[in-house]
């Protein structure tokens, strides 16, 4: 087990001659503390899988270095890094039985056969594969095969970290929930660092203590689920986490306070310096309310989701989403809305303006 550190890591996949390099990872500095349960969250194509493969050594980054417990492993081959990795689609060795599949990573490392049997039995028990150990792996369903892949990741004891690359994509929804709780349980039992890649925020928020949000090749925020929800550092985090996502509206600044649609607003996070660039305010739909005075809007759409309603309103060209309780009345004539100042933040060039920031 160890602490994994990224120092100025950048990676570009080779391009056909003549084409400019495109970085899949644009400078990542990140520390994965020993024993943490991390989720790596981001949309498809943001560099999540690339980042994972850089950790496991399947890829050598174009620039920068990776440290395990302060020693440089950037050039170390995969086998010597002691990393377990589970892929998005099940990989099983067709000709082997389920037992041999699970034993494969151990036998490759010359583990004594008695110990192999012990470990495999234990892991199979955990994954409900005990009664299939003698079957050929090829005959299993996609679920079963992915459990084998998971099992092969979990069976080794000497691993520095276990990486999961969207491992539950092919699993049935009800099993998904079970397996995810099982992984969480295993994390608490084993205390090994786990990094779980997903583009599903629910999956990320339920699995991880710390969520690392990636966007366009960079890490935009690392935090607990609560932090990501209440203090998004980047408009992308606000938009990607939460359902519906944060409203991001253009604004200008007067005396440190934002102005939207000729309305001077107040923000709990005033800007204390002159800002230049693209200025926006971010407010979650949870913190937009109907009020007696404020910004006049027109109601466009009301979606009733049971316990609450999602109301889409419009002010000139800007669409604003708001969450309204099931029983709260929706004003029929000339509705006006206001924003909760404590949860209103100013963003400059997509990054949140913190007090003291330039």
């Amino acid at each position: 087990m160890s602490r994994i550190e990224f120092k100025d890591v950048r990676h570009a996949y080779p391009q056909p001659a003549g084409q400019p390099l495109e970085y899949a990872i644009k400078e990542v500095n990140q520390v994965w503390e020993n024993g943490g349960a991390y989720a790596l969250l981001g949309p498809s194509g943001c560099g999540k899988t690339t980042l994972l493969n850089v950790i496991s050594g399947l890829l050598t980054p174009s620039e920068g270095s990776i440290l395990f417990n302060h020693s440089d492993v950037t050039r170390l081959p995969t086998a010597e890094r002691h990393i377990a990795q589970v892929f998005q689609f099940p990989v099983v060795y067709d000709t082997m039985t389920v037992f041999d599949n699970l034993a494969f990573p151990l036998r490759n490392r010359q583990t004594p056969e008695a110990r192999v049997k012990e470990r495999v039995t234990e892991i199979a028990e955990m994954l409900d594969l005990s009664d299939r150990l003698d079957q050929r792996a090829a005959g299993l369903t996609a679920d079963g095969k992915q459990k084998i892949s998971l099992g092969r990741g979990l069976v080794r004891e000497d691993v520095n970290a276990i990486l999961f690359d969207e491992p539950l994509t092919v699993i049935d929804p009800h099993l998904k929930w079970q397996l995810r709780s099982k992984l969480k349980e295993l994390h608490q039992q084993l205390g090994v660092t786990m990094i779980y890649v997903t583009h599903d925020q629910v999956e990320a928020l339920t699995f991880a203590d710390k969520v690392v949000v990636m966007h366009d090749g960079t890490v935009v925020q690392v935090g607990t689920p609560v932090e990501l929800f209440s203090r998004p550092r980047h408009t992308f985090v606000g938009y990607f986490i939460g359902s519906p996502g944060m409203n991001v509206l253009p604004c200008s600044i007067e005396n440190g306070q934002p102005v939207f649609a000729n309305n001077l607003l107040s923000s709990g996070y005033p800007a204390d310096t002159d800002l230049s660039g693209k200025l926006e305010i971010g407010i979650r739909p949870e913190f937009v309310n109907f009020s007696d005075d404020g910004i006049p809007v027109a109601i466009e759409k009301i979606e009733d989701l049971g316990r609450y309603q999602v109301v889409t309103v419009r002010h000139e060209s800007e669409q604003i989403k708001m969450l309204v309780g099931e029983d709260e009345p929706i004003p029929a004539e000339s509705p006006m809305i206001s924003f909760d100042p404590d949860n209103l933040r100013i963003y400059c060039n997509d990054w949140a303006v913190e007090a003291g920031d330039a």
């Binding site: 493969n53 496991s56 050594g57 399947l58 081959p77 995969t78 086998a79 990393i83 377990a84 990795q85 892929f87 998005q88 689609f89 990989v91 060795y93 067709d94 000709t95 082997m96 494969f104 990573p105 490759n108 490392r109 050929r136 005959g139 892949s149 092969r152 990741g153």
Partner: protein
């Protein structure tokens, strides 16, 4: 809903039936016909029963050519299959060299059988051929027109040259269909190069390899043109394989009865070996 019955569609199958009848069934039945009777021409036939079959099965000449055939086929399979797999494994999977390799590999397959025979004949001639002359000037006593061992070596090498590409191309296709994730998982699991071959590449190639071996078995077991052009079955009878022998009996000696019986036995041997091999290879798939 009422189901309407219309049997007229059967007429649409008629052309195919007719084609198959003239193409396969009637010729086959003609052979069966010849194999059970004796004729001295003029369309007069005498019933002989299984006499020709007994005669062929007891003939030492048939045994000898069958043995030669089995030896030849096992030799070329033993060389071409491992060689084909090895070449396929060492071919690049990406980049500009892929197409170069593929074209080079496909080249021998595009050359007609009799041209291959003629090429190797000239190539291997001890006095003027590049191969034959070089071997002799290096001190090897090599003359495929007179020495059985030289004739066999030349025939086997010729077949390897002509047909290994087929196995290479089929195996290469099998290898290319393996997703990267398998190799990545193997690296994570710490698998050795041998383990990757044994547990990933070989199982994934199994189906194409089965087909490749079947094709090579059938083709080599029925080989005629190349050795006929190269050695003509000689020296003596040493490279007279089943097809060459069959043609000698049927067209050389005009013994239609024994030749027909021999073709049927020949056909059944090919069928039996293919069936046994295929069943053995696919036995595990069904489980």
């Amino acid at each position: 809903m009422r189901k309407s019955t219309n049997q007229k569609a059967w007429w649409l199958v008629a052309p195919v039936l007719l084609l198959v009848a003239f193409n396969a069934f009637i010729p086959l039945m003609t052979v069966v016909n010849y194999s059970l009777q004796e004729t001295f021409g003029n369309n007069v036939f005498f019933w002989e029963g299984v006499t020709w079959f007994e005669q062929v099965l007891r003939s030492e000449r048939f045994h000898a050519s069958l043995m030669r055939q089995l030896l030849f086929t096992s030799m070329i399979l033993a060389i071409e299959v491992p060689l084909g797999i090895a070449v396929a494994l060492s071919m690049p999977r990406k980049g500009p060299w892929v197409s170069v390799c593929l074209v080079l590999m496909a080249l021998p397959l595009l050359i007609p059988w009799n041209v291959v025979g003629a090429m190797w004949n000239i190539f291997a001639l001890p006095d003027i051929g590049l191969l034959g002359y070089s071997l002799n000037s290096m001190g090897f006593d090599y003359n495929f027109t007179q020495q059985p061992v030289s004739a066999w070596m030349t025939t086997v090498v010729m077949d390897v040259w002509h047909w290994t590409s087929l196995i290479v191309l089929l195996c290469y296709a099998g290898l290319c269909s393996i997703p990267d994730a398998y190799y990545q998982a193997a690296r994570i699991d710490g698998a050795s190069g041998w383990a990757v071959f044994r547990y990933i590449q070989l199982p994934k190639m199994k189906r194409v390899l089965t087909i490749a071996i079947l094709l090579r078995f059938m083709d080599s077991f029925m080989i005629y043109t190349e050795p006929f052009v190269l050695t003509g079955g000689g020296p003596g009878n040493t490279t007279t394989f089943l097809s060459i022998d069959l043609v000698k009996i049927a067209l050389g000696q005009f013994d239609l009865g024994p030749a027909a019986a021999m073709s049927l036995i020949y056909f059944l041997v090919v069928l039996l070996i293919c069936w046994v091999f295929y069943t053995l290879m696919m036995r595990n798939e069904a489980q």
